[in-house]
Structures are given as C-alpha cells and as structure tokens.
C-alpha cells in the first residue's frame, strides 16, 4: 500500500482535477476468488490520472492486473472499493454510462468472428446508437482509413490474426467516442497494419482530442507511442511517468545479455563472479551495470576461454523492461 502511495506521489500528474482528466482512478481495489477459494487481490489501491488528449499506457507483464483494471474502467467489473471517474462521470455508481463515453477494444473477437469485416463495423456502429445511414458512412470511412476495403466482404474468422485484430479495431472506431480503451490492439499485426493503427489514433487525437488508454506488455511499443505510462506489477502502480522520465531513473546503466551455447563455464573465475549478479533465464544471463564495467566484461569474456561457450551476447541501453526490474517488478512474461 505504501508503495502505491509513493508511486502516486512520484508521478508528475497534477493533483486530481476531475474536469482536466479523462480518467481519474483512486484507491481501486478488486479481489477475485482463486480456484482454491482464497481471495486474490488483482488490484490493490490503484491511483491513476489520465489527462484529456493523452495516449496513456498501462504496462506490465501477464497477470499484473492490467485487464482487471481495464474491466473496471469500462464498467464491466465493479470494484470492491475505490472510485473511477471517466470524463466527469462516476462509473462505479453508474457503470452503464461507460458504453456512452468510451469505446473498448477487448482481446477477444468471438462476438464478431462470423461477420464480414464490413458488417462487423456497421453493426457495432448501429449498436453505438448510430442511424443506419450514419453507421454505413462511418463504416466506409474507417475501412478506407485502415485500408481494409480489399477484405471488407470476408468473415473475420477467415482472416489472419493481425487482419482480424485490425478489423476489430475498425469496429471500435465506428461511432466516435472521446475515450478509446485499447487492450493490446496491435497483437499479431504486421508493421503496415500497426502503422495504420497508430496513424488512426493520432488523427483522432489531433482532430478531436481523443484520449487513449492503451494496455500493452510490449515495451518497444510503449516506449514509442505513449505520452505517459503507468507500470503495473502485482496489482499496484509501481511507477507513472513519461517513457523518457522512467528510463532516466536507470540512466547510466546498460544491460549486458550473455547467451551460452550449453552450460555456462562456471569454473572460470570471471564467470563464477558474475553468477550472483545475473538474472538467469535458461541459457540467458542478464546483467545491469555501468558502461565501463560492461566494456571490461565484454573484453574479458570475448578474449578469454569463455568465448568458446558463448552463443551470443548483446549490450544495450536501458529499456522500460529494465526500469520495471529496477523498480522491483518480480514478474516475467514480457513481449519484446
């Protein structure tokens, strides 16, 4: 609990001004029952401030509590305690208002799978309250924008994973909403489709001030598209800042990855000395250190007998994953 509060204090977000924020979350706590019957806290006192017009990321490994948080933001799940304010409306008291304020792109497409791309977009628009003519006009515009016209007449179930995801994203855009909640929107997409998604998001933000809450566990994506990011671990916000601000916290450090062919040559003193400091993941050892030591280590390893046992190595600047680990995140399961 104390960590949560300190994280909220550390965040550069201004104090909660409901009207300036698109989303204000305070003390959000939600437990679910595990198979053994004991309650598990999926969210433990989460505080968030998402400003209007911002692309805000929720970053964390699988099982960190991101989806539980999103389900509460979208009115699908009632929190055990805490408040959720979306664009000035209390969604804990009135969860039924959520669909009139935000569009949600979930991870599942099963409700749309057997529809054609065009009908999925049009029907979703109709269900967002658009007239038939308006739904068709918006459908045509969005399909053109995302270059989905060539596959408009194909059922989603027959598409590749990335194309299906893009079609669901198209459906989420029909019937404009001031807040988009996108749960891993680009999973499985090729670079062209990914670019189309971010261009569409950018256009809506520039033209209409649309706010985007983006769930991801892809650190590269988080670093490049987000204005600010909340790092979530074990149901708590452990940091909230711009990607640059977060990375500055581990400034000066570099990451050295060593991948061994087989068993590491632990009998060599230089290698044995590294073992206590390394995060070991199968054949991969990861070390965080300063650039000078990293250079010395690379020289020692590549010049000595350890080189024969080495399959690959890399030296890189810190990523958000390193930030996460430095901040005390214990989970694995990141996508790179």
């Amino acid at each position: 609990m104390s960590t949560t509060q300190s994280a909220a204090v550390a965040a550069p977000a201004p104090p909660a001004e409901t009207t300036a924020n698109a989303v204000t979350v305070r003390g959000l706590t939600r437990a679910y029952r595990s198979r053994r019957g004991a309650p598990v806290l999926a969210n433990r006192g989460i505080d968030l401030d998402v400003r209007r017009g911002e692309i805000f990321g929720l970053l964390g490994p699988n099982g960190a509590g991101k989806s539980t948080l999103v389900r509460q933001l979208t009115g699908l799940l009632r929190p055990d305690s805490g408040t959720v304010d979306v664009l000035g409306h209390d969604l804990v008291r009135q969860p039924s208002l959520a669909p009139r304020l935000l569009a949600h792109l979930g991870q599942e497409s099963s409700a749309l799978d057997e529809l054609t791309v065009a009908l999925a977009a049009e029907t979703t628009g109709r269900l967002r309250g658009l007239s038939r003519a308006r739904a068709r006009a918006e459908r045509d515009a969005v399909l053109a924008e995302l270059d989905l016209e060539p596959i408009a007449a194909r059922p989603l179930a027959k598409l590749s994973g990335g194309q299906r995801r893009l079609a669901c994203f198209a459906a989420a855009l029909v019937g404009e909403r001031p807040l988009l909640v996108l749960d891993e929107p680009t999973t499985g997409m090729d670079p062209v489709a990914r670019r189309a998604v971010w261009a569409a998001v950018d256009r809506r933000r520039a033209e209409r001030g649309t706010t985007v809450v983006l769930v991801t566990h892809n650190v590269i994506e988080a670093e490049t598209v987000l204005d600010r990011v909340a790092v979530i671990d074990e149901g708590r916000v452990i940091a909230c800042d711009t990607p640059g601000g977060l990375k500055a916290r581990v400034d000066g450090a570099v990451r050295l990855d060593l991948v061994w062919r087989d068993a590491p040559p632990a009998d060599l003193p230089v290698i044995a000395a590294l073992l206590p400091r390394a995060a070991v993941n199968g054949r991969r050892w990861t070390l965080r250190t300063d650039p000078d030591e990293a250079r010395e280590l690379v020289a020692a390893i590549t010049a000595g007998p350890a080189f024969a046992a080495l399959d690959d190595f890399s030296l890189s600047t810190p990523s958000l994953e390193d930030v996460y680990l430095v901040l005390g995140g214990r989970q694995h399961g990141w996508a790179k």
Binding site: G75, E114, L115, L127, D202, S316
Partner: protein, 282 residues
C-alpha cells in the same frame, strides 16, 4: 556472433515526444453519446446473426432437417399412413424438433461459447439494451428453423398421407415455439458455468423434445406425460397435430399456442436477466 544493439525505435510506431494537445480541455462532465434504442439494435443484431447463417450455420441447418426427415422415415416402418394419433404425432413432433434443434440446442451452444470466450464483453461495452442482444439472437435462430420445419412438415404430410390444408399454422407455431425454446436455450447457454455444460443442456433439451414430441402422448405412462406437459415444445407439437383433424378444434389450438407464447415471454425475460448476469458478474 556478438553484437552491440541500441534499443531501436520501431519504424512501425511513430514517436510522440509532444504530450497532449495544448488546448485546454473543456470543463465539466463530457456529454453522453446516445444509447442504441431497442428496436434498431434488435434489428441490427438480427441482421448480423442472419448473415452468420451463410458462413457457419448452413451445415447444421441441413443436419437439423435431415435428422427430422430420418426420424419420420424410420417411424414409417411402424406407423402406417393415414390419419391417426400416431401419424399426427410423428409429423408434428418431427417438424417442431427442427425448432428445438436450432433454437434450443444451437442457441444454447452459441451463448455458452460467447460467454466462455469473453465475447459477451463486446456487447456489454456497447450502449445496447440487453433485451436487444438476446431477442435479436433468439429471433434469428427461430428464423433459421423456418425452411427446415416447412420441408419436414411437407414431406411428413406426403409420407403419412396427412392433409396439407392447415400447414399455414406453422406461421404461428414456428415463431411461438421458437420464442419459447430459444428463450430456454439462451438461459441454458448464459447461465451454464462452463461451455461444455451449456452444450450438454442444449442437447438434453433437444433429446427431450425428440423423445416426448415424436411419440403419441397416449402411449406414455402417467409420469412421463407430466414431464411431457412441462416441455414447452409439447404445446407447439399439440397445436400443429390438432390441425390435421378434418375439423380442427381451434379453441385448443389457440390455447396451446397461448401456452407457447406465455412460456416464450417468460423464458425470453429470464434470458435477458441471464444475459445481464453473465455480462456483468464476473
């Protein structure tokens, strides 16, 4: 072998160094977009569901029809042609069985799958009345049964030498029995805690409609007749079977159809409640 990489900016993802747009956000709560109204939303879901038939349902609709045709041909071995209680029961029961197969069994499976896969979230995050989702799907599944029921009834009349005079009654039997059975199917699919259980319930419901609908009621022991009376499809079968008489007892036909309608109203209301529960309480 070795490489020195600097974390690269993905070409596919444009950077956003600038924070949010500079213009200040308007104060006060944002206006709410209008919610979808019941009938347009119902029509949109109905249309979308009907379009699914082309992709996914055709083979199953054939199965539903062939199952009923097969039963009639098989029963022809023990029931002789000509107007009798047995021949009426076989033809009416087999025809309504198509409705039970599609509206009860397949709809239970559809909602069971939608719930298990998280697909209900899609509808739950749209401003659409729950009744529109359930009624739209139920109406579509009831509509799927029309061709199969008509074909089964027509072939049955030919096979058993029954009059075609009052086959128009199917225009009332299919929607009313369809409403009752699809409501029941939706409840099974939405309340079953596991997808497999939804499938099982749908199959059991259809088996009951088969066993208790196709055989003449007078052949059953008392206890089984009570069970038969509890099954909504029975009233559709009875209403249809009565119209094969030279002078049908229209009062009782109407009464049977009224029971179907009543069960339909109750079961569709229950399925709307079940949908709300399944969509939000997880």
């Amino acid at each position: 072998m070795g490489q020195v990489t600097m974390t690269a900016v993905s070409a596919a993802t444009p950077g956003h160094d600038a924070p949010a747009p500079a213009d200040p956000a308007p104060p006060g709560p944002a206006p709410l977009a209008p919610a979808a109204r019941l009938l347009p939303a119902l029509a949109a879901i109905y249309r979308a569901q009907l379009s699914r038939a082309r992709v996914a349902r055709m083979p199953l609709l054939f199965v539903a029809t062939f199952q009923s045709l097969g039963i009639m041909i098989m029963m022809r071995g023990v029931v002789s042609a000509g107007d009798s209680e047995a021949s009426r029961a076989v033809v009416a029961g087999s025809s309504v069985l198509v409705v039970a197969f599609v509206a009860l069994n397949l709809l239970a499976q559809y909602f069971g799958r939608l719930r298990a896969s998280g697909g209900l979230d899609h509808y739950a995050t749209l401003p659409v009345p729950p009744a529109a989702v359930v009624l739209g799907a139920a109406a579509a599944y009831a509509s799927f049964t029309v061709p199969g029921t008509v074909v089964t009834a027509a072939v049955g009349c030919a096979l058993y030498g029954l009059p075609w005079t009052h086959l128009w009654i199917l225009l009332a039997v299919v929607p009313l029995a369809g409403a009752a059975l699809s409501g029941l199917g939706a409840v099974c699919g939405l309340l079953a805690p596991k997808q497999e259980l939804a499938t099982l319930l749908g199959q059991l419901g259809m088996s009951a409609a088969l066993l208790l609908g196709v055989l003449p009621a007078s052949h059953f022991p008392e206890v089984i007749r009570w069970v038969r009376d509890l099954l909504p499809s029975t009233y559709g079968v009875e209403a249809f079977a009565r119209t094969f008489a030279a002078r049908p007892d229209w009062g009782n036909v109407l009464l049977d159809l009224a029971v179907c309608a009543g069960v339909g109203v109750v079961s569709l209301a229950a399925s709307t409640w079940a949908y709300r529960r399944a969509a939000t309480e997880r």
